[in-house]
């Protein structure tokens, strides 16, 4: 051991490069250490970034192993084996960039010239919306990626309705009572995991913030919470509505907020629409004058929230009264029957929440404003919202918050924007009749109504929702039923693994992929999807490339800057160069630049607009993004690695001041009626199957269809991730594998021990798990941290075999067991059901296909057998 020179990696002679992480879709600030020999040997958080405060999650700590992964694609390649499939060797043959780009562009252009709708894009790089939006350059709205429905299908549109924002979170800076429903925010997942964990830990340890976690499984967040409330899957909306029943019946709401800052007092007619005057203006009932007045009538005395009234003989009631009437049947007792949560627990949490919210309290902010202080927030995400009636479910959560007046209030429930691009842009705009302009489409434009459809996944019929990628499979099984005039035959894939990520049985998705004439994948490392590629176009990794963006940080804003720490290790290119080369060859260069100018916000800034006839580098686009944010040129960003600051108070707290929030979402009914009429006029054959009841202006206690599966499916199954598995590829990384498969929750299918006994199972039992839609195999583990009606399947046990990749298969894929039909998809939001009913059968042994090759369970056994060997267990 050389004593004179340091052996600790971070102390070896070298340099630190400030940059940004991309081991998940978020963008924590980091510092890359490069030795004098050019080796990247340490990555730490950037302590000058107030988002993650110098902290990184385990994935952020693992980026080096992605960089040096020997399986990385090292040059462009062409398949020589005509047989395609996950785990089947494509027998790659290296080819030149010129040839690879020529072939790819030629094959894509062939489809584009025939019918641009025949191209199926799967572009999942969430830090590069200039790549994401590429298909718009040829008017293509197809979508074959998981972003959306497998994260927050109904969540994002509802955040757009309520906050005009992409995401949401509680305000850790002031919150004292934090409800987490089906989310790991602050503990294991979601927005900037390391950053939010840092902020939430401070609130818990310095301020004793109380955390209540509601979910079927004892996750990390539940384990750390003061109270874990186990709940039957897909009944979270009923819990929230039971709470709302108590808040309203016991008069615990922030009535001042509801009257002044929301449309809850707007009078609703019997048709569910607001009663409007000839100019389209809405009405409020003045209790003092005992008559209706226009919403902006300065003579209004006391605004009615409750009551039944008449305008010109037409019965009407405030939106608040409509919800109160719906909630009449949602007693804690009734909701207890559905959720399995004791009625007294629902009522107690409602009262505790209201008490913590301190309705009436105010706080003086540093910007001089005095605003409501509401240090209690109801936060939620995928586990709670990912259900058939997703729109109603999300709204039910929002309304618990709205009843407390905590929307965008210090300590309350906050809208979190994606990338507002310019420091002076406020994301909120006043709309009609005094209301906030809703922005349900947070990821850009969606296609207008058309029949026959212009998209293969039926996005033509989701005026309020996100892309439902699972419908690609539904349509593919019977294109004629949906009036399809085209069938996609080319997939353009970039950092996307749809064959792994999208729900529906894999064997059917495999058939779908086999029907493609040509597949090109832009990626770093082999995945389930690249095994299907005809051409591989290898890209630079996060340590070799430029970028400038910000992805939904709670509490902070600005731009996270990425710069190369080293030259590319292999013969790879940036995503920008690849898509510009393809665009030029396809003859769409100018159209593409026009799309990027719109997408990245350069439009309106002549000095920043990309020249239409030129190809631009990732560095140049990053430079202009930085300039767009704060006028600082690239040298400034290269020195600092970011322009992140705490959120400007006027954009964080009540950025919609002066507009009323949508308590009652009339647009749901307006858009439903419009769509219904369009479908009638166009004689759309499947219109009677369309789920018209899904469009509701307020949540209802309707049950999701998952609860109505045949009784032989006697348990529920859920899937989950933890912080080591957050967002996208993780398990090809040896450091991640070394920690994940030592954690008991990722080493077997989790069942409550009493349930296991009742089913004749025990720890170690090999089982077949079947839903009405698909099946998986697995090995049972028991945990008291499982709701007794629920089987928990870690995402780490849902990988498929893929050639040359370090990931290990387990026994199938949880998503195989999920439906992909209209009945189980929310017509209002595009959100499909993400839990299922199952039955379990005990097997004597693994099926033969799982005995070939190494599986997760072999690795787990190796770990167990190594126990007791010093520090190696």
């Amino acid at each position: 051991m050389a004593k004179e020179t340091p052996t600790a990696n971070s102390l070896k002679s070298g340099r630190w490069v400030p940059s940004s992480c991309k081991m998940c879709l978020h963008s924590c600030g980091n510092m890359i250490h490069v030795t004098d020999d050019g080796i990247i040997n340490k990555i730490e958080g950037n302590p000058t970034n107030p988002s993650n405060n110098g902290k990184l999650c385990p994935k952020g700590n693992s980026a080096i192993m992605r960089h040096y992964d020997p399986a990385r694609f090292k040059q462009p390649m062409r398949r020589t084996n005509p047989e395609k499939g996950c785990g089947i060797d494509p027998m790659w043959e290296p080819i030149s960039w010129e040839e690879a780009l020529d072939i790819s562009a030629r094959e894509i252009k062939k489809s584009m010239d025939e019918d641009p709708r025949k191209i199926l894009p799967s572009l999942e790089d969430f830090q590069k919306f200039n790549i994401w939006s590429w298909p718009l350059a040829f008017g293509n709205f197809n979508f074959y990626q998981s972003g959306g429905t497998m994260c927050g299908g109904a969540y994002h549109p509802m955040n757009g309705f309520i906050h005009s924002a992409f995401g949401c979170a509680n305000d850790a800076k002031y919150c004292n009572y934090w409800i987490n429903n089906g989310t790991g925010d602050g503990f294991s997942s979601h927005l900037h995991a390391a950053a939010q964990a840092n902020w939430v830990a401070k609130a818990r340890t310095e301020r004793n913030m109380r955390v209540v976690s509601i979910e079927p499984r004892l996750s990390i967040g539940s384990a750390k919470a003061e109270e874990w409330v186990p709940i039957r899957p897909a009944t979270d909306r009923h819990f929230a509505m039971g709470m709302s029943h108590v808040l309203i019946e016991e008069g615990l709401c922030d009535y001042k907020f509801l009257r002044r800052d929301t449309n809850a007092p707007y009078l609703v007619g019997e048709d569910g629409l607001f009663i409007r005057d000839d100019n389209g203006q809405c009405h409020i009932w003045d209790m003092e004058a005992d008559c209706a007045k226009l919403w902006n009538d300065e003579s209004i005395g006391k605004i009615a929230l409750e009551g039944n009234f008449e305008i010109d003989g037409k019965p009407c009631r405030p939106g608040f009264q409509v919800y109160k009437d719906i909630l009449a049947e949602c007693t804690p007792e009734a909701m207890s029957e559905i959720t399995t949560v004791p009625a007294e627990t629902i009522a107690r949490i409602a009262r505790e929440f209201a008490e913590a919210a301190q309705v009436g309290a105010t706080i003086k902010l540093e910007d001089g404003r005095t605003v409501p202080l509401r240090p209690a927030g109801y936060n939620y995400y995928r586990g709670a919202q990912g259900h058939k009636h997703g729109a109603q479910t999300n709204q039910a959560f929002k309304l618990v918050n709205m009843l407390m007046g905590n929307i965008d209030a210090p300590g309350g429930h906050m809208g979190v924007v994606l990338d507002t691009k310019e420091v002076d842009i406020n994301h909120c705009e006043p709309g009609e009749s005094g209301m906030l302009t809703p922005t349900p489409h947070q990821l850009g434009p969606t296609p207008p109504f058309a029949y026959p459809p212009n998209t293969y996944h039926l996005m033509d019929y989701f005026p309020l929702g996100v892309h439902p990628p699972h419908f690609n499979l539904l349509v593919h099984e019977d294109p004629a039923k949906f009036g399809m005039e085209f069938v996609p035959d080319v997939i353009v894939n970039c950092h996307s693994n749809p064959v792994w990520a999208i729900q529906g049985p894999r064997n059917k998705w495999f058939e779908f992929l086999r029907s493609m004439r040509f597949i090109v994948c832009v990626d770093l490392i082999p995945t389930e999807m690249t095994d299907w590629a005809d051409i591989i176009l290898p890209s630079n990794d996060v340590l070799e490339s430029w970028n400038c963006t910000m992805i939904e940080p709670p509490h902070t804003e600005g731009q996270s800057f990425r710069q190369p720490a080293v030259e590319p290790l292999h013969d790879t290119k940036s995503e920008e160069e690849i898509f510009y080369e393809l665009s030029e060859r396809m003859g769409i260069l100018e159209a593409y630049n026009d799309v990027v100018n719109k997408t990245l916000g350069f439009e309106g800034h002549p000095e920043l607009m990309l020249e239409l006839d030129q190809k631009h580098t990732d560095k140049e686009i990053a430079r202009r993004k930085g300039l767009l944010w704060n006028g600082k040129d690239i040298d400034w960003y290269m020195e600092r690695g970011h322009s992140v600051t705490e959120k400007r108070l006027d954009k964080w707290y009540r950025p919609w001041e002066g507009s009323r929030l949508h308590f009652y979402i009339e647009d749901m009914l307006i858009e439903k009626d419009k769509l219904k009429q369009q479908m009638e006029d166009a004689d759309v054959p499947f219109r009677d199957e369309w789920q018209w009841n899904d469009y509701q202006p307020l949540p209802t206690p309707v049950l999701d269809p998952v609860h109505e599966e045949p009784p032989e499916f006697d348990l529920y199954a859920i899937t989950f991730k933890d912080i080591q598995l957050n967002f996208g590829e993780s398990l090809s990384n040896p450091w991640i594998k070394d920690i994940v498969y030592r954690d008991p929750v990722h080493t077997g299918l989790l069942l409550n021990p009493k349930t296991a006994t009742a089913q004749g199972l025990e720890k170690g039992s090999i089982v077949l798990v079947e839903s009405p839609y698909g099946h998986v195999y697995g090995r049972i583990s028991v945990s008291e941290g499982m709701h007794p009606e629920t089987l928990g399947i870690s995402n780490a046990l849902s990988r498929l075999k893929s050639k040359d990749s370090g990931v290990l298969p387990a026994g199938g894929h949880f998503n195989d067991m999920l439906p992909y039909d209209l009945r189980n998809t929310d017509a209002a939001s595009g959100q499909p059901e993400t839990v299922c009913k199952i039955k379990i059968t005990k097997l004597d042994d693994w099926p033969d296909f799982l005995k070939e090759g190494r599986t997760v369970y072999d690795k787990i056994e190796e770990h167990e057998n190594a126990k007791g060997k010093g520090g190696q267990h």
Binding site: L56, P58, Q872
Partner: protein, 204 residues
């Protein structure tokens, strides 16, 4: 002279293992070898079940059993209390690994390095750069990132911890962050019955 130690805040720790990976990064540890770990333990019965996450590390004991049994003098304690292993002197007898009640020592075997982190028998440039510090056959463990400490930095695991669950500092300084935490939150040492006087404490 300082007497450095660490406090684990069990309320803050979320068992994310960022510390474990940061340690693997800083110390170029082979697959399956850990200088620190986060254990998880479930307890209680549904619906009152819970799980606790427990970070573990070399406790840098003042009466270190590993040091007492070391026949070669390889294991020694620095002036600041960090228990070190000098692998020039280590004869690989593993007495220390047996003596350590906390199971915190690892004998580095040739096989640890040969497979490589990706298990393909080849080493990445990261491994090529880092494995030279280890001598196969010798015993290693956490040294509180002693070189970082000498440079005035916190250990790698402390720096990265998202929830500030690892607090490092001078236990002899009553005003240091760990001293205050031990005092105010009644810090407990692991396995006090072993009389090893660990310089690692846990608070709840």
């Amino acid at each position: 002279m300082a007497r450095v130690g660490m406090v684990f805040d069990l309320k803050a720790c979320i068992g994310c293992n960022a510390c474990v990976v940061a340690c693997k990064q800083e110390n170029s540890l082979p697959d399956g070898v850990f200088f620190t770990k986060t254990l998880s333990e479930e307890y209680g019965v549904f619906p009152l079940a819970n799980r606790v996450y427990i970070p573990t590390i070399c406790n840098h004991c003042e009466d270190a059993p590993c040091e007492k049994v070391c026949p070669s003098g390889a294991t020694h304690t620095r002036e600041d209390g960090i228990v070190m292993v000098d692998d020039d002197k280590c004869i690989g007898c593993s007495s220390c690994a047996v003596a350590c009640p906390y199971d915190q020592r690892t004998q580095m075997e040739e096989s640890n390095f040969l497979a490589g982190l990706f298990g393909n028998g080849e080493l990445t440039p990261f491994e090529e750069d880092g494995y030279g510090r280890y001598t196969p056959g010798t015993v290693t463990k956490c040294d509180f990132c002693s070189q970082r400490v000498d440079a005035g930095l916190n250990p790698a695991c402390v720096v990265t911890c998202p929830t500030n669950a690892r607090i490092f500092g001078d236990l002899d300084d009553p005003a240091s962050a760990p001293s205050v935490m031990i005092r105010e939150r009644h810090g407990r040492q692991p396995m006090p019955e072993k009389n090893t006087k660990p310089k690692v404490y846990y608070v709840n």
